[in-house]
Symmetry: C2
Subunit: 508 residues, 2 copies
């Protein structure tokens, strides 16, 4: 296995092509590293000027005193070989080759790239790219992509064959407070490939979920082995783009990837336990669920709803995905019957028909989550109800019938309530080791989407629609089923050994 630790956790970095010219990659990358909070040494390298962004600049890598763990190259394609020679001379083992103009531009670029790749292999230099968006490792506050996106630290690591798509996913993650671990735009994969990144992330303790955008892989057999190895340890969520003839043609013109038959990809990925997403938004949504919640042990879903329509929609979505809504067991029925008005639904979904009474909702939630009859519980409409009441108070105030203080008090009460509600869900997940999916009555831009609780391994996600919650639950159930199925097969074949590693294809 390639050890990529020094690539993601470097102690010193050089940026070749560093410049203060705002709209150049040498500025994008350098300002991102400096502003992102990276604590190691950062050396600008440029033939022009003595300082860049206030840092002492060097004319070449060779001029830097002390070791350099990682180099970003942003200078034009025809200068890259020279920089690579400097890397070799200075025993630099890790390069992120941002520069484009290689194999993606035709024959001449291809020849240029082959030279760089051969040189890198010969001198044991690990190269990300060329034509890459860069890398991120939140654990070392290293934000080194062209786009200044700063998601919070977390367990989802991203491998992407499209920098733009990966970047957009990180942007969404930042907006929704979803935690990201590592990010790598694999670019043309001249030396390091997405299989190598996956292999590294499989054993990376800072990574709990791997998210992949794939257009094509070079070594299908090796990819499969590594994927199987990884999915035994942590979930891998992948989008395979270039599924159709037109898409595949577009992919070829994009990264030059031979997209291969989609059916083959799909079956290989599924058999390896990889969870498939259809779109980039799905990639993040699914990954976030895996990163936050325990897995459902089965497909029996309990639903508690504040209003009828949502219950119907949720029931449809569950059944259409093959999940089940079993009837309420006698003990839950009796417990709820004692609490709810006489005309309650008397079934699953449990319809609370009316006012957002939080104690009622808590009691119903507790009864459903505690019951052995359900493997997962969906809660509709309690979260977000504070916003509804706040608006009424604001209207009263504008009409001259409520005081500022009164509203503030109410807002506080409802904020506390919401936070108590979400904390309670985290506690229930801890206690019963089953996932609980709250869906907000009203959600607004800027809402807290992922709610953690100190001391808990789980966090709760506030979904904005029932279909999103059911979709995630279904994907988690798929993985849970895969693990159970494989664990049996595995024990039979390997008699307890848990660390059978795939044959490494260490090419450097």
């Amino acid at each position: 296995m390639k050890n990529l630790t020094a690539l993601f956790y470097p102690e010193s970095i050089a940026v070749v092509g560093a410049t203060e010219n705002t709209l150049k990659w040498g500025s994008y990358i350098l300002t991102n590293i400096l502003d992102g909070g990276y604590r190691g040494k950062v050396h600008p390298v440029t033939v022009r000027g003595d300082t860049v962004y206030g840092r002492k600049a060097y004319r070449t890598l060779r001029d830097i005193e002390g070791a350099v763990d990682l180099v970003f190259i942003t200078t034009p394609a025809d200068t890259v070989m020279e920089v690579m020679r400097d890397c070799a001379a200075k025993h630099i083992a890790n390069v992120v080759l941002i520069t484009s103009g290689f194999s993606e531009t035709g024959e001449k670029g291809e020849a240029l790239e082959e030279n760089v790749n051969a040189f890198a292999r010969e001198h044991h230099i690990r190269v990300v790219g060329p034509n890459t968006m860069g890398i991120v490792n939140t654990a070392s506050s290293l934000y080194a992509t062209g786009s200044h996106v700063r998601p919070r630290k977390g367990g989802i690591s991203i491998i992407t064959q499209s920098g733009n798509v990966g970047n957009q996913i990180m942007e969404w993650a930042e907006q929704e407070s979803i935690g990201i671990g590592k990010f790598v735009g694999s670019g043309n994969e001249g030396v390091l490939s997405c299989e190598d990144y996956l292999e590294y992330l499989a054993d990376d303790e800072d990574t709990s979920v791997v998210l992949m955008y794939i257009e094509g892989v070079d070594n299908g057999r090796r990819f499969r082995e590594i994927a199987e190895y990884t999915t035994r340890k942590k979930p891998v969520i992948a989008l395979k783009a270039g599924r159709t003839a037109v898409g595949s043609k577009a992919a070829q013109s994009h990264t030059g990837a031979m997209a291969g038959s989609h059916k083959t990809y799909e079956s290989v990925l599924k058999q390896s336990g990889v969870i498939l997403a259809h779109t980039p938004t799905e990639l993040l949504t699914i990954s976030s669920a895996f990163d936050s919640m325990p897995l459902p042990k089965g497909k029996r879903v309990g639903v508690v709803t504040l209003g009828g329509g949502w219950g119907v929609i949720t029931a449809d979505e569950c059944e259409e995905r093959g999940l089940e809504l079993p009837p309420l067991p006698r003990d839950v029925y009796e417990r709820l019957d004692a609490l709810l008005p006489p005309f309650w639904s008397r079934g699953n979904p449990v319809d609370l028909v009316g006012q957002p009474d939080i104690d009622l909702f808590f009691a119903a939630t507790d009864a459903m989550v505690a019951s052995d009859a359900f493997d997962a519980v969906i809660l509709l409409g309690m979260a977000g109800s504070g916003k509804f009441v706040t608006r009424i108070f604001e209207a009263r105030q504008r009409l001259g019938f409520a005081k500022e203080k009164e509203i503030d008090e109410f807002k506080k009460i409802f904020a506390d309530r919401q936070s108590k509600f979400l904390d309670n869900i985290v506690d229930l997940m801890e206690k019963y080791r089953k996932p609980v999916y709250p869906v907000a009555l009203i959600s607004s831009p800027g809402d807290e989407i992922v709610h953690g609780k100190k001391g808990s391994a789980y966090s709760v996600i506030l979904y904005s629609s029932p279909e999103e919650a059911v979709f995630c639950l279904d994907k988690q159930y798929e993985y849970s089923r895969y693990l159970r199925k494989r664990s049996v097969g595995y024990e039979e074949h390997c008699a307890g050994s848990d660390s059978k590693r795939p044959e490494s294809a260490f090419r450097i």
Copy 2:
């Protein structure tokens, strides 16, 4: 046909059960009407107190001087018959019966409701509900639901058999600046049914698109006739909930609707030209596309992208939905070849491979939209690119290398650019009568989603993902195909008559 004009455009309103008690429906509705900007007369009716929210209160409807066009009833179920008698005595023709506790609660409530319904029919009183969330008509600034949601004025009118679902849709519309016309929560449909509302909206000039959430309809034949009549005039987007056995059971316990066979519903709706949505979010997304853009005449899609990955995803999504990405015609090819770097994609998607050069993007967009080879154009990644650059400037500033003023100038330049970009799309849609779907590179909460231009009938929607754009395009193409197909059949059968109205089932 029932004339519901006085219901939606009343000159005077009474609220029975008016109260200043914040968490009562009599307060929700009254404060919403007063705060929402309604300009007609509003009379609180209550047995307690002389004023409510500063307005003179009446003990009964009979005590009000002058005519009352519309009454909201919020008092308990067992008081409703008495209020209805007052309505009849005062010749009030329109009632919104908020009160619950009728047929949805069992036999006793059913009997109570049947009495109310019979009385209403006998006295020609149009009743919305009972057990309804209320109504909205933005054209008369009448916001009269239990939830203080205030979407902007627009052409999408909503008929919903679930108040909560409808309310959530209005909330999303408000957040995304999507214009809403009328809203009606049909409740138990004791007197007025969703068919009646649809029939009214078919000829309502303030309504350009009808959005429906349906759990079940009582008179399938009539619904079909009205749907066929309506879809000839304007698009109808519907979600049929209770599609599955479990969902249908939940629907029955919710509104008591007999959900019927989903396959029957689906085929009836499709044959009537109704566009089906699968989830509430889809309902609004599709409706908004119809409300904003011209219809595509065919299924040939042109794509312009700033980055490769998005092009691949878009191509996959198009082909999987049966849309086509034809190759570039010679004239477009030559025009682009003269503008783009030598290694451009030379195909559709047109990949601009690199920097967000707005002039290049404009030229490519113009060439694609103007070409007869395409019926619709998708533009990926130009919009939102200003945010990317702004972030870089902000980082420079934090590092001490950019002045506040410099950033403000840049922000202004990019805001102007974005607005010019969106205006240009509106102009292109006007000129070529074909839809154009921009997808943002980075979209953030609070972004302007629907961008109008003064003097234009169209507005442009800024999509946050390619799949959303393709999805809407596909639905619009489906309706366009239906219209063309039916227009032929129609002319053959009706020899030019354009106003064959369905048989009215005027039951009052």
